[in-house]
Symmetry: C6
Subunit: 266 residues, 6 copies
């Protein structure tokens, strides 16, 4: 669930800046204000975090939040090894101790009790209370808290409560405009620009279909997958169906309508 391997940030990750998101992110880091990235699936939230971590030269600890993660999973636990009980830090404790960037991916999926444990870390106190280890850790200057959140996919109860939200500076992210997105798709897949252009054009038509009943719309990630299939020899129309249409819907008539749009694009 978490990773703090120091070698990960050695190569500069590809992230194409779209607006002021990177600038606000960096300045919030300078002020040690927690940052919340809000945006749809596959719009580049995780990549932005990787890029800023690399730029600031800090280790990155990622936690994929979910309903089953317990406070012990995050903070640490007592293990029995060689007849002795030894303490093992969890990823959050490790991140605080080492002054890393702690990235809570899809924070709204986490259980409230886990989020509440992070509250003292996310306000003026900047402290982590590791109760089971009977320890209070004051976060060093380099520690930075970042979380991501997808507001378009919230089921009823899965919203962040105000006392959590108001601890973060929140940056809204959206899919980039056509020219930038074409550049991203071509760069990431290695496909020809003309293919990337048509895929972006197709995606934007799908994104305008508010009545299609889609839970979410076509992300940049899907376009990159389609472009890679095309480069691997799959006919463009088949690639659009497998990489874009079928991941978006299980409804046969919606799939057919989206497939017709793909045929128009190629």
């Amino acid at each position: 669930m978490a990773d703090g391997a120091p070698g990960r940030t050695s190569a500069a990750p590809y992230y194409r800046t779209v607006g002021s998101e990177r600038d606000v992110f960096r300045r919030a880091c300078g002020e040690r204000l927690p940052v919340l990235l809000k945006g749809p699936t596959g719009c580049g939230k995780s990549r932005l975090v990787e890029a800023v971590a690399h730029e600031l030269g800090r280790p990155l600890v990622t936690v994929a939040c979910n309903d089953e993660t317990s406070a012990a999973d995050l903070l640490g636990r007592w293990l029995v090894r060689g007849g002795e009980t030894v303490w093992q830090d969890g990823p959050v404790t490790r991140a605080v101790r080492t002054g890393a960037i702690l990235y809570l991916d899809e924070v709204a999926e986490a259980r409230e009790d886990v989020i509440v444990v992070l509250h003292p870390l996310a306000d003026h106190r900047r402290e982590l209370f590791v109760d089971r280890h009977d320890e209070t850790i004051l976060a060093p200057a380099g520690f930075q808290l970042v979380a991501s959140f997808n507001p378009g996919y919230r089921r009823g109860p899965k919203d962040l409560k105000p006392s959590t939200r108001q601890r973060f500076v929140a940056i809204a992210m959206r899919y980039p405009e056509a020219a930038i997105e074409t550049e991203i798709v071509a760069t990431e897949s290695g496909c020809e620009t003309s293919v990337a252009k048509r895929l972006v054009s197709f995606a934007n038509k799908v994104r305008e279909l508010h009545e299609a009943g889609l839970a979410e719309t076509a992300s940049t990630r899907l376009l990159v997958a389609a472009a890679r299939l095309v480069k691997a020899g799959v006919p463009p129309r088949t690639a659009c169906r497998a990489a874009i249409v079928e991941p978006l819907t299980d409804d046969p008539s919606t799939a057919e309508a989206l497939g017709d749009l793909a045929d128009l694009a190629f």
Copy 2:
């Protein structure tokens, strides 16, 4: 819940290609894009995976997803043996380590927290974070993620969330056309072609009955079972009832109507 016995893929499994499904599957593997097989019960999803694994000469690790599987079941756990605490890899960790094909059967049945653990494995990172073992495993080139999903049998909450779906290339599978299905039924059961033909004809009549209130319709698997009963000496009409009608419905009048259709076929 999982199996990675190396000897399993030594005999070429029977799988009859129906459309472009096998080709897209192989090319997605070449691009290291995760694959989602979508289709109804008994249409051959598991067999397709077995066939591609055999063709690519890679070990196959199958996980039957369900509501109770925990992240620890998949990733591994600490066991106490002979006074020492030893780590035991779970099937997912084993599959990543060995570069196997990891097959998540009925992935929509899994708990979200289990699926979320696989997200970093299913995007550009191709990494598995085994938190309890304090280890990050980068998937080798040969590792391939495959999942199956039955969109026709979804109860309300049991849908894949967009951030999961959009990590997969999705291939829609359907029951094969009559000639191909007849060939499959005859080959698998060893029954005469004339019996297989009638069974397929009966199945297609059942499949047209949208008003029958069936949760799902007659699968190729059911036809093979009926053919085997006939070959074992059960009268065809009785075999159709036991192997096709009664597995499909508990409603007496629906069962009678389907039984009448079977009588017409034989």
Copy 3:
């Protein structure tokens, strides 16, 4: 929850064949197709299984399915004994290993995760994956999977899902016709045939009362109990009330109506 005592099948159990149920059962066993017995409470499902197990000379392992049975209960678990950790097979693992008949009584009561574990055992793979013991067991030729299911007593969510149902040959069982049921009641209770006849006649009147709001109707088992009370000296009308009417309903006016029917019979 399970029993595999070898001595249990030594005496031929009493089972009176009603239709083709025994024949289809045996032939499905010959083809190694899993069998699902569908029918109301007390119609003889468990006795049929015992009779076929005896006839085939195979050990029988029964599992009474319920909401609380875990996969570990069925497959096995690690126990600490004398300072060492030893593995103990669960009943399903024991049944697969020894090639027994595995009988899942009231399978629809089991949790889905438990059922899903049995899927690879119930299709062409015939394999059991015992994850916690890191072992894959291929079922020997003699292994046979049997399950029972009561379709008349389903509360909303408690239905078998299609991907489970379509793995079984299903045999529908009903209460036998009057002459056969009279023979069964007299044989099992040792009562006079005239008493058995009246009890069956009373039961069939109850079974016709669709409007009585009964959750289920009078089973053969209830008639046998009443016959035994009569044989023990309880007046027939009192016996009918205690052994048939009161087990069927708690509603005073329904009980009175059924009691009047009993009085008419005797």
Copy 4:
């Protein structure tokens, strides 16, 4: 939760027979048919069981059923004592082994999985499968299963399922008629007959009040409590309020109406 102390049945418990309930109970015991006592709170179900156990000279094992009792609580568990793992029988196992009367008090409160474990004990098999101890116990001739159930106090899901009910001979119990109840109240409390008479008269007026919205009505047990308070010096009207009215209702106006009825009686 269970008691099998041998000394308990040494004194003949007071139970006043009302109808055929005791006779049917004894004959069902003779036939080894499980018995279900159905009736409202405080009508004497537990006392009847104690009386029959005493009459038959058999030990009585009582289990107070509830939602939290596990199969392990009933069947037994492995305990660590002096470095060794030893098996401890639970009350049900002890009752079967010793051929006792096993009394499941308020059986409808038990979890289904616990009830299902008792099914093979409650039909022709008369066997208990103690899976964790890897043991099958055949009940000796003297073993008798008895359960109690209050049909007037059922909340939706808390009903016995038909496959359980149809394993029992069911005896319906009701509050006794006035003369008998007066005798019971006077005998149990040691109060004067005139007081007992007035209490029974008051109770019967309360029992006729179907419109009072009471969850249950005044039981014999309440009358005995009131009689004991009177004998201890509490004024009869105050005793009726404390021992009968206030236990029955929390609604002030209902309490006042019932109190007025009590005043009329004394």
Copy 5:
């Protein structure tokens, strides 16, 4: 959750008798009938129990009932200490063994399974079955069961079931009349009688406001708190707001209306 410290009852606790409650309580104790104290928050239920325990010279064991208390919490559990498994009595077992007064505070908050465990202790049997310790304890003559219950604060499912209620003599308690309550407030807080008088007068105005939508009304306890704040130098109107109004409501307009009433009183 429980306390049986012997030294607690050495000082006579202050309890001002209001009606016949203390007398009925004592006589029920003499008859060994369980007692249920019914009444609103802060009316003196716990103090009455302390007073009677002191008067009878018996130790008092208090259990604060709640949703999470398990039968093991009450009865006891096996603990591993120094390599040996030792049994630790829970508070109920300790109370029964020592013949104490067992006080179940807010009994309706307890889970049903926990309450059911106490049933044999609350009827003619006066026995506690400690299943896990394989022990039956007969309550000594001095043992007395007492419970409290707040009928005015019941959320739907949180009611005592009839088979529990009918095991108790129930005593209804209410807030005392003005003169007595003034005496109580002045005695407990040490404030001047004139202040106590105004507080009681204010409280009685609040208690008459049935339309205010308050979950409960002003208890004697709140008046004592306000009186102590006044004695500590807080202006009476501010004290009324902090100690009475704000604990009663979060609704701004209700708080304002109640505050105006307080201003009128002072």
Copy 6:
């Protein structure tokens, strides 16, 4: 989850008194009455507690309440260390033992069973029953119980029950008036007073928007975050969006409307 590090209160924390809240708090402490701070997110509840703890020179133990905290987490548990079982006090036990200020942050988020455990600590008894350690601790004079509660953010069942609320003196806190809030924002962020003034003016316009459908409104904390971003070089309008608007809402049109208000302020 809790912190009792003695060094924490060495520097006087910044808290700007708004009304009588600090005075009532101190006097309630003098009377040893538990205190409940009621108010919206980010209005300064935690800071007030820190300030009073510092002023009184007492250690502060904070518990962030949540749904998953168990009584054992708060009271303590038995741990195995070096082969011996040792007792470890939880934060509440530690606070009572040492006579600290125990601060239950967001008490309404705690499970009822945890709150009920604190009841005897919160009334005239001032006792903590640590059942698992078989110990009753009488709170020393210096012990003080404080809790916080946000009445504006209550989801249905998450309300404090009356028997809990009536154990506290409750102090209602609100956002300070403009001049004081400007002073606070400027002091905490180090920004210019003119920026602080405009931010407060913007916040007060947002707070007047009752129809905006916001779960909560702009807190002082958000204003401080915006002021820090401005000081770090982010343009004021962008800072308002990231630090105030986006944390408050995910709805695009609401965000736009709030953004327009921000543009008007700068």
